[in-house]
Symmetry: C2
Subunit: 249 residues, 2 copies
């Protein structure tokens, strides 16, 4: 893996996911969206709605990733602790953000018809000092390299889609080989090629069901010529007829 590729971590804040009340949709969606944007998603961690757990993970990941995205925990109730945790992880005080407060007041009036905004809603405007509002509608909250997104899937997707285009990087290039042999027969060849092409990510995924193949091998990196060269090197080491079909560049 090329260490120069911008990396990302996703922190899914959700006791409801860990306690099996809800199945997370944002992790799989972000994996696809970040991949398409040419970013290397280095980890996804699901965390409980607990300040200490979130502070520790944000602090760990922000130092080593280009971007840290959080999902969830930005609403008005007692279990919404992501924003306070990010503030603490970054060592920044919470400050009421006037522009965000105006957005919340306007949204509350449109949604409820009332101009009287409960204090828990206004507290959603208390964000880490220096927070930038990115995107329209209810905005992404960005401070340093941390981007806080909502947990509700339709809002998570909308905000990520507004945020990613500005980051667009060269795409990954992927070749796939579907093999009729088991992993035991190809392990040595794969190991040799992986050693010779350390910049190409080579994955081996066995199947034990009724699929038409036994193993799917993937070869991936941003340089299409290197993907092709690694594939040729692997083909030269496999027994004749091992490849049932292939995809990619």
């Amino acid at each position: 893996m090329d260490r120069d590729i911008p990396s990302a971590a996703l922190l899914v804040v959700g006791t409801e996911v860990l306690t099996a009340k809800v199945q997370d949709e944002n992790g799989p969606y972000a994996a696809r969206a970040l991949r398409d944007a040419g970013l290397w998603l280095a980890t996804v961690c699901t965390l409980p709605d607990q300040v200490d757990a979130i502070v520790e993970a944000v602090d760990r990941e922000r130092r080593r990733r280009t971007w840290v995205f959080t999902s969830g925990g930005i609403g008005p109730t007692h279990d919404d602790v992501t924003v306070a945790a990010v503030a603490r992880a970054l060592g920044r005080p919470l400050r009421r953000h006037p522009e965000l407060e105006a957005i919340l007041r306007e949204g509350h009036e449109r949604w409820t018809g009332s101009r009287e905004v409960p204090e828990p809603v206004l507290r959603m405007a208390d964000v880490p000092e220096g927070t930038r509002l990115a995107g329209g509608g209810f905005p992404c909250l960005q401070v340093e390299n941390v981007v806080m997104l909502p947990g509700v899937p339709q809002f998570f997707r909308a905000q990520l889609e507004r945020f990613l285009p500005a980051l667009a990087e060269p795409p990954f290039r992927l070749a796939i080989l579907f093999l009729g042999l088991g992993e035991d027969r190809i392990a040595e060849a794969l190991e040799e090629v992986a050693r010779a092409y350390p910049d190409v990510d080579i994955g081996s995924y066995p199947r034990f069901d009724e699929a038409d193949h036994r193993v799917k091998v993937t070869l991936e990196c941003k340089d299409v010529a290197r993907v092709g060269a690694a594939r040729e090197a692997l083909l030269a080491r496999l027994p004749p007829g091992a490849v049932l079909r292939s995809e990619g560049p």
Copy 2:
């Protein structure tokens, strides 16, 4: 949350998940299975097939959780690095496990008809010194409080189902209220009850779609009387008619 409840971490080892080639099924399955077994799943982290990343996560989680489960990375190819990483995290050398070697030899012969076992397959028997084989078939590999499970979903499920019954703990008890009000209207009541019942996990999940309710509130702990008391305390603070329906004890 009661800190005496046995806790677990799940580490999903899978570059294929992070690169959006495969959607993880083992995390959601384990969340349900561990919950049903009365364990508190404290985190799920998806990691790349990289020794350093796995060593760090195993080392971090094993010190603070009752159990650490890993998923994936235990096969014969170059990208199967979980077992070596666990050995390093625990400071234990890799040793060939005679009983595991016999299981692998027998399985290979049954699967391929050949008694000649490739070296990469035999290397699957090189496990951290002191590893215990739990369960039948291809076994769970357990060393200290770390349990290594396969990534292929049908094998992951089968092995987890063999492992969990011995741990069975008292179940969690869950009450659910479906409300016709938005979170802005209930946030203060929730906060008061959450403060008064710190041993009861209280979650608030808003809906912004065509569902018949605006917010689902969950109240959960192992003591059914505390769940009931927290629910009564919340009902006493909500406006009349707020609850559309309810579930649970």
